[in-house]
């Protein structure tokens, strides 16, 4: 029984995961695909031609999204690391409260607060601008970094820093040469998470950036409503590539010897 069922369920699982991708890949090169055909009758590169048009919405969307996600990745990692370190290594007044405050955006639905954020951002002139979008993207990203980095710093022995100090190294040297290399896996994973979350953020970008900041999800959403599925398929493929490239460079920190990140298993 077991021997028969195992391949069956495995097959079902693989199908479950990959079927959506499969249909997107086929759609991206299909000229038209009608029910009940199993495969399209005609193929076309039109989707990719439009996607890679240097003056097109998609290329511009990719650039905007990349710039925003990179900046958000760096800022969120920096802010979240500091908070994560504080939570893991120091005791201070109202620690529990601050811990909750930092992680609250993971619990409170984003939509519930975006209205308030929008009003606040309009008031301070941050609406409809890249700066505003970057700031807004910190809301869902920082909590993840805090979670990852508080785990990393909980495993970090502060004695290494003291050892550096008693050998004559300044705080800056200690941070650069001792602490940073040790927590690097955590930082890499944090950056990956922040980048990917920012990369696929839609609601916050829409409400804060308005029509002015056109990230790739904004462009993609516009295409989805236009029902040109060939274009949607190609754009979706383009949408998937940058996070996969980033994963390629950070995946070694998600598995194996780096015990700094727990609970993520093999990715």
């Amino acid at each position: 029984m077991k021997i028969i069922f195992r391949p069956f369920f495995l097959g079902l699982f693989v199908f479950w995961i990959f079927f959506p991708f499969l249909s997107i890949i086929i759609w991206s090169v299909a000229a038209g695909w009608r029910f009940p055909d199993i495969l399209p009758e005609e193929y076309s590169a039109r989707g990719y031609e439009v996607s890679f048009d240097p003056d097109g919405d998609i290329v511009r969307g990719v650039i905007t999204s990349t710039v925003i996600a990179l900046i958000v990745g760096v800022l969120a990692t920096a802010i979240g690391s500091a908070a994560g370190r504080a939570i893991a290594m120091y005791t201070f007044k109202m620690k529990k409260f601050f811990q909750f405050l930092v992680l609250a955006p993971l619990i409170v639905p984003g939509l519930a607060v975006t209205m308030g954020i929008q009003i606040l951002f309009i008031k301070y002139g941050l609406a409809d601008s890249m700066r505003g979008v970057i700031l807004a993207h910190l809301i869902p990203t920082v909590p993840y970094v805090v979670m990852i980095m508080s785990g990393t710093f909980a495993n970090f022995d502060r004695a290494y820093e003291e050892q550096g100090q008693v050998l004559g190294a300044s705080r800056l040297t200690v941070m650069r040469k001792i602490t940073l290399p040790i927590v690097l896996p955590g930082l890499a994973v944090s950056f990956l998470f922040a980048f990917v979350i920012s990369w696929s953020e839609y609601i916050l970008t829409l409400l804060v950036g308005g029509a002015a900041v056109k990230t790739l999800p904004m462009v993609l959403f516009a295409y989805l409503r236009g029902s040109d599925l060939t274009l949607v398929g190609a754009a979706s493929i383009v949408f998937m590539i940058p996070p996969l490239i980033l994963l390629r460079f950070t995946s070694k920190h998600l598995v194996g010897r780096s015990s700094s990140v727990t609970g993520l298993g093999s990715v």
């Binding site: 050892q163 550096g164 008693v166 050998l167 190294a169 300044s170 290399p181």
Partner: protein, 350 residues
């Protein structure tokens, strides 16, 4: 000229909990001094204050004549080795040893040569390109020591550097530390909870208990002339009798014992178990007792007796340690003889 260390009325509290209660300690330049005490006595805290890793609640630390209180850790002329080797995992052994040189504003040009020389000194030649995980515990601790010495410290601080090693290696390493200390011009503070370790390699021992410096002296004094009952007990003296000094004798509840030399006044008498002898014959300096039990302690035999003729009638145990087996029966009446010169009146009775 070596730099001495002066610790002046150091007090330290964590919250409302006092850890150090007014420590005064002067270490002469070039000496190796152990700070000895059981865990929680404040010895590590004191060392961390000397290093600058911890700030004293009050009091001062001087290196030579130089006040250190306002000087930050990295600017003090120290190097410190901890219980764990703490080799930086992202660096090779060579890079670890070179750390203090590279952390300087103007690193010297001959780093590689100096690293190799230092590794030779700690008997790890050719290890420069290895990584921390490939070494044994003892080797790691030697690298840690080499890394500290590379800074050329005036004051070397060692915080239980041998505790994580196994027994045989500890003996080898403590002698090695003494050798290293003697071949550099520096003053060393060595924190340990191991009495034997402190006795073996120190010029002087500072014995602490509950945040108080109980005695600061050369190693043999802790055995022959303990200043407090705590010291006597920690250094293995099993017999401390109460009484009072009368002329050249010490009057106990089981009779007067002859003191060999003029001693200052005190209400306690320390008598080491190995300085007593049990025999069937009475001698010039002896008192009567009954054997209650005996047991082997290593290759020696420890005999418990009950002092006879006590004025208050309560039992008082006297322990005698002998290196030869004597066939005394339990309940047999014996004579315990002593050497007057070996009796020591404890002046403090805390």
């Amino acid at each position: 000229m070596n730099t001495g260390i002066k610790i002046e009325s150091i007090e330290k509290s964590f919250g409302t909990n006092p850890v150090l209660k007014g420590i005064n300690l002067e270490v002469a330049g070039g000496q190796l001094v152990s700070i000895l005490g059981s865990s929680g006595c404040g010895k590590t805290t004191l060392l961390r204050i000397v290093a600058g890793l911890e700030r004293a609640t009050s009091g001062h630390v001087f290196f030579g004549d130089e006040l250190q209180d306002q000087i930050t850790v990295e600017k003090r002329a120290i190097a410190m080795v901890f219980q764990k080797a703490l080799l930086f995992p992202s660096m090779t052994i060579g890079e670890n040893v070179a750390f203090s040189l590279r952390a300087q504003k103007n690193p010297p040009k001959d780093i590689d040569k100096r690293v190799e020389e230092m590794l030779e000194l700690v008997k790890l030649p050719g290890f420069a390109s290895r990584r921390p995980g490939e070494l044994s515990g003892g080797q790691e601790q030697r690298v840690s020591l080499a890394r500290a010495l590379m800074r050329n410290p005036k004051v070397l601080l060692l915080d239980e550097p041998l505790s994580a090693l196994d027994a045989n290696l500890r003996v080898e390493m403590r002698n090695f530390i003494r050798e290293i200390h003697d071949s550099f011009e520096m003053t060393t503070l060595f924190v340990t909870h191991d009495q034997e370790e402190a006795m073996a390699i120190s010029d002087k021992i500072a014995f602490m208990e509950s945040g108080v410096l109980e005695q600061y002296d050369v190693p043999e004094s802790f055995v022959s002339t303990p200043e407090s009952p705590k010291v006597a007990k920690f250094f293995g003296c099993r017999n401390v009798f109460s009484g009072k000094v009368v002329g050249e004798t010490f009057e106990t509840s089981f009779g007067a014992l002859q003191l060999g030399k003029k001693q200052s006044n005190g209400s306690l008498l320390a008598v080491r178990q190995e300085d007593l002898h049990v025999s069937r014959e009475k001698s010039k300096h002896s008192f009567e007792a009954t054997v209650t039990s005996w047991q082997f302690v290593g290759s020696r035999i420890s005999i418990s007796c009950q002092a006879a003729n006590r004025s208050n009638g309560e039992p008082l145990e006297v322990i005698v340690e002998s290196d030869r087996f004597a066939d005394f029966d339990v309940n047999e009446t014996v004579h315990i003889s002593y050497e007057p010169n070996r009796l020591h009146v404890i002046t403090r009775d805390n």
